[in-house]
């Protein structure tokens, strides 16, 4: 299908909306009625047609507006995009991966023409038509990582691999779940995950690292993560927390369905060919509670997951104070019926709400 790009905002007046198409394909992250940390990694080799898993770098109706929001964040705070000096080659690897993937997966939106190292990149939604010399930074308006990720939804962490560890040595981070690239840059895998509760003790990070160190070229992997955000605010950064934190207190029983959003990260992992770095795109999808509740299965399940979530996780994810109000709202959509396994809404087979 041809994507109709929304003219919308992720700040101030928050005109962000999901169409029915976007709600249907929302990556609901709970495959059962409860949640606990897990490595939950799978191959990133396509998925159901039209789903967010189908393409290597999903493009959706929010693309143009998200890129506009990213440009605003970077103008306010250039430290959201940083690359340590040894990471430039990985930046070129990433530029190539994204340009090749997008031009193959969305030929009507993106074109890549290559003649030796003379490349021409056409990005129709953003109105870009640039010719440059591959591996020559002086022929691009930004470094290669910044150039291509200003045109690609999701945050990007580029991880150097050495000493049997991964090092957060480059990235562009403007749609993050409250962590600071500027603070974490240069840290290893265990250090940047240090503030996460429970998962270290469960051995999650040791297992995840082992898996990631062995990711091979052409065999990317993916997993989902999630949190909660009041208002469809992409830039929930620690840098600006003193400005947006107060929005969490604006929830009321009347507006919660519209204001409270489930925030899901589709995290993917690709090995890069020249640098042997690992790129870790973190793509953020937002969906309001009221839109989620249009799927009876998601309504039942979200209530049970949030109700039974350990207190540490609700605190870490930043919604412990609002959890009672969330449960008051969500319980209206839980009639106690069983739910089908898996993340998809199964609207054909799941019964409508019985109350």
């Amino acid at each position: 299908m041809t994507i109709q790009f929304n003219d919308e905002t992720f700040r101030d007046d928050y005109t962000f909306r999901n169409s029915d198409w976007a709600i249907n394909r929302f990556p609901f992250p709970f495959h059962e009625d409860s949640y606990m940390y897990a490595v939950n990694m799978e191959q990133h080799r396509g998925g159901p047609e039209g789903s967010v898993y189908e393409k290597r770098f999903d493009v959706d109706e929010h693309y143009v507006a998200e890129m506009r929001d990213r440009a605003m964040v970077l103008a306010d705070d250039p430290l959201r995009c940083q690359s340590l000096p040894h990471m430039t080659l990985a930046g070129w690897d990433l530029l190539e991966l994204i340009m090749v993937s997008k031009s193959e997966d969305y030929p009507d939106l993106f074109e890549l023409h290559r003649e030796g190292d003379q490349w021409r990149w056409v990005n129709k939604p953003l109105g870009i038509d640039d010719s440059f010399t591959f591996m020559d930074e002086t022929t691009l308006p930004y470094g290669p990582m910044e150039y291509i990720t200003r045109q690609t939804q999701g945050d990007f962490c580029v991880l150097d691999q050495r000493e049997d560890n991964l090092w957060m040595d480059a990235g562009i981070v403007t749609t993050q779940a409250d962590w600071s690239l500027d603070f974490d840059i240069g840290m290893n895998f265990f250090e940047w995950h240090a503030p996460v509760p429970l998962a270290h003790e469960k051995g999650i990070f040791v297992r995840a690292l082992k898996f990631l160190l062995n990711i091979q070229q052409g065999a990317p992997a993916r997993r989902l993560n999630w949190t909660m955000t009041v208002n469809p605010l992409l830039d929930t950064s620690p840098e600006n927390y003193h400005k947006w934190g107060v929005q969490k207190t604006t929830l009321t029983p009347e507006n919660i369905g519209q204001k409270q959003h489930l925030r899901v990260e589709l995290q993917t992992f690709f090995r890069l060919p020249r640098s042997n770095a690992l790129v870790f795109p973190i793509r953020c999808y937002l969906c309001s509670f009221q839109d989620l509740m249009t799927k009876p299965k998601w309504g039942r399940r979200l209530h049970r997951v949030i109700r039974d979530l350990p207190e540490e996780l609700a605190t870490y994810k930043g919604f412990i104070d609002n959890r009672p109000m969330m449960l008051d709202y969500l319980s209206q959509f839980d009639d106690g019926l069983p739910t089908s396994p898996g993340v998809f809404p199964d609207v054909e087979t799941e019964p409508p709400l019985q109350k």
């Binding site: 430290l79 240069g186 840290m187 003193h242 934190g245 107060v246």
Partner: protein
């Protein structure tokens, strides 16, 4: 003075050891305040004959005691900031076989370790021993300003004035812990400050 036992914490928080004299052609010891005691604990005439001590007293009176150890080179600096170009110069000159010893406050060790890492030393090869004040060097995640010697939690950012709580999350690159606004969700509701480890 007895050593402070830091409580167990998250994985980005540095842990410090106890200095020991290691075989090496040259020894660079960087210390502030009570860090002098850790140097005196391992000093022998043989070790000192090949040792360069860079010391920032910070109001203590250990400098003469260190000088009396007869190190090959001794420098007393009025502050870390005043000493840092000297530290960089010494590291630039360093040869294989140099042993690095850092001791004193976390801020001193963190910043000197950062200089050594930038000069190419893996941080795992650098010895550290905490002595003296348990104050922290804090970065405000909001304005990026560094506040030195923070002893209380919460504290007021010395740059932007926000009320910050003291996290254990630590960046070696910045040689600082992270401070995050404590009253963002309820402006003005700031609990009374207490000592970081109280």
């Amino acid at each position: 003075m007895s050593k402070f036992e830091f409580p167990r914490s998250i994985k980005s928080r540095p842990v410090y050891g106890t200095l020991e004299a290691r075989p090496g052609k040259h020894h660079l010891m960087i210390a502030d305040a009570e860090g002098a005691e850790a140097i005196m604990a391992i000093a022998t005439p043989e070790l000192m004959a090949n040792t360069h001590i860079i010391y920032i007293p910070r109001g203590t009176d250990y400098a003469d005691k260190l000088r009396a150890l007869n190190p090959a080179q001794f420098y007393e600096g009025p502050s870390y900031a005043a000493s840092v170009t000297r530290i960089q110069r010494v590291l630039q000159d360093a040869h294989m076989g140099l042993q690095i010893y850092l001791t004193g406050t976390e801020g001193l060790m963190g910043q000197a370790q950062n200089e050594a890492m930038q000069a190419g030393y893996p941080f795992s090869a650098i010895q550290t021993e905490h002595r003296g004040s348990v104050a922290r060097r804090m970065q405000c995640v909001h304005c990026k300003g560094i506040t030195e010697d923070v002893e209380i939690d919460p504290f007021v950012c010395s740059h932007c004035g926000l009320n910050l709580f003291v996290r254990d999350h630590y960046s070696r690159r910045l040689a600082a812990y992270q401070g995050v606004c404590i009253d963002a969700e309820d402006p003005g509701n700031v609990p009374p400050s207490k000592g970081i480890y109280e």
